[in-house]
Symmetry: C2
Subunit: 242 residues, 2 copies
């Protein structure tokens, strides 16, 4: 083989001559609704695990997908109608046994988006649904998708300790209390609001819109904020307690 030119090698190369493995991309899409963390599940229309709920995702389309991120976004867009504002690769899982069709590898991403942006699309179909993450984790899901949700949650938890990444699960404008409550839900513990606000001021990745929330309710009307670009990359030097 090494006697050939590279051109001749490539001309004669056919992937189907080899025992190869399945490769898929699956995403755990999170959002926040009523102070709870939700995740998007889709009902499988094909074997294997026909009719089971699982993660949005699937095979790489070697014609249409230019890379893994594009593949993740395509599958998410097919389900939600939009490209989520935050997408991060979690890890890859591959083994001989995770898929009955054969050796299979999946690249897991997690994504964050505002719930309102896609709620109408999803409510109109019955094979896609938002479920509270805790509830999703109690279901029997397709493949090892339950572990993948757990891994994504674990990653999101770490990020909540030293970054403001969870902000991408909120709508375009939000209050600091909403953001704090989201971090608290992700971490499963309460945070001192003074500490939280101090960190946000230090990070300088959010900006006040100048407006106050129009939500009716008792108490002082909170200021509205939006994220500055690059907020996802900010990293605090110290973690919150855990």
């Amino acid at each position: 083989m090494s006697q050939q030119t590279e051109q001749a090698y490539l001309a004669s190369y056919n992937i189907k001559d080899y025992d190869t493995c399945l490769t898929t991309v699956d995403s755990v899409l999170f959002t926040v609704l009523n102070g709870e963390l939700y995740t998007l599940l889709v009902r499988r229309a094909n074997h294997p695990y026909l009719a089971y709920w699982g993660l949005p995702g699937g095979f790489i389309d070697v014609q249409r997908d230019v890379d893994l991120t594009a593949c993740a976004n395509r599958h998410l867009a097919e389900k939600t109608g939009i490209i989520p504002p935050y997408l991060e690769q979690v890890c890859s899982t591959g083994s001989k046994t995770r898929d009955p069709r054969g050796w299979s590898t999946t690249v897991t991403y997690y994504a964050l988006m505002a719930h309102i942006q896609c709620t109408t699309d999803i409510d109109s179909v019955d094979d896609v649904q938002w479920l509270p993450a805790t509830q999703a984790l109690q279901m029997e899901l397709a493949f090892d998708h339950k572990q993948m949700i757990e891994q994504a949650l674990e990653r999101l938890k770490q990020k909540a300790l030293y970054s403001l990444v969870p902000v991408y699960a909120l709508p375009e404008t939000f209050t600091l209390s909403e953001l704090q409550q989201l971090h608290e839900v992700i971490l499963g513990k309460s945070i001192q609001s003074k500490s939280f606000r101090r960190r946000i001021e230090l990070a300088n990745v959010l900006e006040e819109t100048g407006e106050l929330s129009t939500q009716k309710g008792k108490g002082k009307r909170p200021a509205l904020y939006r994220v500055k670009t690059g907020a996802a990359d900010y990293r605090f030097m110290r973690n919150l307690e855990h």
Copy 2:
């Protein structure tokens, strides 16, 4: 398709009926020698990138590899003769263009090991070599392996800020000065030895062997340490300055 039973579907399923993509596992193996960080490169014996230096790794063997980690370890063992004591998945990279044979995905790992454990095996062959990481990054490597080394280094750098993971690049017993010097090389900056030692004491993941180093040289003879099990999982709450 959804009319069939799962059994019938699986019986008729043949991966070669579909356009699929290549999947490989590559590892960036680091070690420390004379206070410098080295990485292991292998010379390719096949097309594409014939005779280029690149990372140890390759295709998943659907018969022999049970999962991705096993695949990474197998390829590393083929080159070094041993299974490295630390192996961590970095990320996956996949695109239409990264391999001339077609759509290709690679799962990148990085591994740490003591140099001495495998030096004789490697010195006896001419298609494997340890190179200073800085030097490897200046070469023209196969595929996108240069970026993969950069990503692995970046991950290792983060770990050096909040963990003692780099210790796995040292021999079984080592001095705290050696460990500190390694962290300094990875981070590219000096560390206050008082801070470093305080953190180590707090972490409680190293233990004194009771011996002193037998290395001849000026100055006080340093105490020898070894890692306790579970040291890889310890995470400091605060980062070192960067």
